[in-house]
């Protein structure tokens, strides 16, 4: 039954498995049990899925109540197609480790970038000084 044709409403999504992306970057997968007019969500049997590269790990979280404003997007998961993914599931420890490694490499790259920029800055400054002097 179409509650409100032509509109977007979560009512028909209730009791279905959803993937929810939050503003802080977390990905939650759970059954949408209840909503309200602010799109606050109640997720049941929620699992937080961490993706690193081609691997992912699930952390079971139980029941989530998500404030509507923190949701970036959410979509229904097709239960039949759910398992049909090229991604590889790994254990929680492993994925957390991978995540940490990824974080680290990213930080290091950042550092290098910042350093390089600083060096360039210094070059430009010295050039300017030289330029103004001559």
């Amino acid at each position: 039954m179409n509650y409100m044709p032509g509109t977007a409403s979560l009512i028909e999504d209730i009791d279905k498995k959803h993937l929810v992306l939050l503003r802080d970057g977390r990905t939650l997968i759970g059954f949408l049990r209840s909503i309200d007019q602010f799109a606050n969500l109640v997720l049941h049997q929620t699992v937080e899925r961490i993706h690193v590269g081609k691997k992912y790990g699930d952390i079971p979280r139980g029941i989530f109540v998500v404030r509507g404003e923190n949701v970036v997007l959410l979509g229904e998961i097709d239960l039949e197609k759910e398992s049909d993914t090229p991604l590889q599931q790994v254990s929680i420890e492993e994925i957390l480790e991978e995540q940490r490694v990824e974080q680290q490499t990213r930080l290091e790259a950042e550092k290098l970038k910042v350093q390089a920029l600083k060096d360039r800055e210094k070059e430009v400054q010295t050039e300017e000084v030289r330029g103004s002097q001559s």
């Binding site: 409100m4 509109t7 409403s9 009512i11 049990r33 209840s34 007019q37 097709d78 239960l79």
Partner: protein
Amino acid sequence: MSGKLGDRKNAIFTRSHNEAILLIGKSLEDCPLDEDEDAFQGLGEEDEEIDQFNDDTFGSGAVDDDWQEAHERLAELEEKLPAAVNEQTGNGERDEMDLLGDHEENLAERLSKMVIENELEDPAIMTAVQTRPVLQPQPGSLNSSIWDGSEVLRRIRGPLLAQEMPAVSVLEYALPQRTPQAPEDDRDLSERALPRRSTSPVIGSPPVRAVPIGTPPKQMAVPSFNQQILCPKPVHVRPPMPPRYPAPYGERMSPNQLCSVPNSSLLGHPFPPSVPPVLSPLQRAQLLGGAQLQPGRMSPSQFARVPGFVGSPLAAAMNPKLLQGRVGQMLPPAPGFRAFFSAPPPATPPPPQQHPPGPGPHLQNLRSQAPMFRPDTTHLHPQHRRLLHQRQQQNRNQHRNLNGAGDRGSHRSSHHDHLRKDPYANLMLQREKDWVSKIQMMQLQSTDPYLDDFYYQNYFEKLEKLSAAEEVQGDGPKKERTKLITPQVAKLEHTYKPVQFEGSLGKLTVSSVNNPRKMIDAVVTSRSEDDETKEKQVRDKRRKTLVIIEKTYSLLLDVEDYERRYLLSLEEERPALMEERKHKICSMYDNLRGKLPGQERPSDDHFVQIMCIRKGKRMVARILPFLSTEQAADILMTTARSLPFLIKKDAQDEVLPCLLSPFSLLVYHLPSVTVTSLLQQLMNLPQSAAAPAPSNPHLTAVLQNKFGLSLLLVVLSRGEDLQSSDPAAESTQNNQWTEVMFTATQELLRIPQAALAKPLSIPTNLVSLFSRYVDRQKLNLLETKLQLVQGIR
């Protein structure tokens, strides 16, 4: 009456508190323990004969809030059956109710059983608890007061419930007649439910309560398990049965209710260690359905059944009306909501409130569905149970047929399967969904949908026109599109009255949204021209042009809207509307050309600036149909004059072709003189054919541009039309035209073909046009060049 009451009271007491009596055919709300006295007060009035086939038991129907009535019924029954039957208040409490014909016989049986059982119970507790648990969302209950925001919803709830709760638990049987529900509802509702909409509850917060929050509801919804708690010794020990399914879809108590229920096992003892915590969802199901087993408080005899429960899959616990509920959801929304749908609502399945024709067929039906998961209805009388299941089955079949008939693919069915096995489904009640839906609909309310929801309205208008057109052609069956008709609220005139404070000296001004106060004194300082750099000036000029475009665009939108307003307006208002429209069109033109009163002919610069901006071009294309011929011709000439420049500026946007269509339309209305001069402008031909320039960059640019070439061809075509249609035209005009044509053809011949753009459309009469002015050979050349002959393409 009071004497009667007294007698009855005693009678009940002597019957040793036959809760079962009360239960039979009564809807007593469960009163908390401290409301003992109330239980007896209800026995005052006499009630009518119980309708065994009423919808309250087998159909839906809201619970009647009047426990007094329920009491009466029980009392009445009690009178009929002097032999007190003590039915076990454990599992089999209401089981033995025979609702078909042999009602009184079995009742007698049962009552006698009840007597036996309740001997040992504490009368006070038992009686107090004997009131029927009411789990359905009642008007007066907590649940409804939170979720039922309005009368509409209340009314909706009735039919909704009717549709969605075909299979009814025994609880419903106990409920009194519900046919006079509507008036009763209103009566009861008015006491504690939301007042009418005029008080405009704050959306998103609980509705205004007539009764302060925390007031215990008049009828307390307590699951029937209470009784079982306190009657640990069941008379009938049944073999372990699959867990009783919880109350029908709509009856399920919301979590709110559950927590507020007294003696709720949620608040009570935890499970004994032997019972694994995995039972909790099961427990919930039990609570909701008034399931019989309360592991925490069961007597040893009842405990025997727990392992049975533990073993049973959790999935079975909650299904109840899972399918029904799910199916119920698929039913069209309640009549109240139907108003929102323009398409006729799909044929509702026959309301599930059919009265069973007789026990016979039911038995057969039920037997056939035995393998399906069965809710625990052990407490019900076998026949009642049969009826319930039969009803369920009926509805399931109906809905399944409905579904099957529809476009439900395999996905849907698998989805249903999944739902069926999902013990947590329908945690969100139908009424709660309706509540949210109602709020969303309220947000769509508007006084002027064309203003607020323009694109939606227009889109659907277009669709409708399309389908109407298709229909006219006699296409297949009309496709029904359900369109959401947003509620339209009449515009109310509000005059703002500033807030006045009492007891203040003088008038205090409060800054509000209706009465804003200036917070910052912002002074506008205009910059002097000298300080600015060239870039800034250019930027400013561009900004000014943009502002002008915006203003003109607003005028344009208004003008385009006049047609609709005209239709909606009254006769007297129409001339005024027309005047307004004319005025606006003039303003638009002035904006376009640049209002400079002093000059005779305003400079092209203003217009060209507008035309340099993409939005400006589109806007001009839209404005042209509204302008008078002279005004439009003026615009066209200006465009032609500055065409190379515009072409250069349009290189990135490529929006000029949008102008072709209105220009063509215009050209076909132009007189010969104008056409001639237009052609001259386009080709930038010198006025006299004396000294043709070696190269004509203007023309080249025009010809190399799609729009330019197309426009040129259109103009030529028009000229040809004029010539051919009016051979006796004035000679001067004719001569002029001929001259221009000669030069034009010369120019055209000169231009290499590769440089030519591909025109948007080629008018058909160009061949004849050229044939007048050039000889055969050149004609052929021209043909090939301009690809005038169809085959060449």
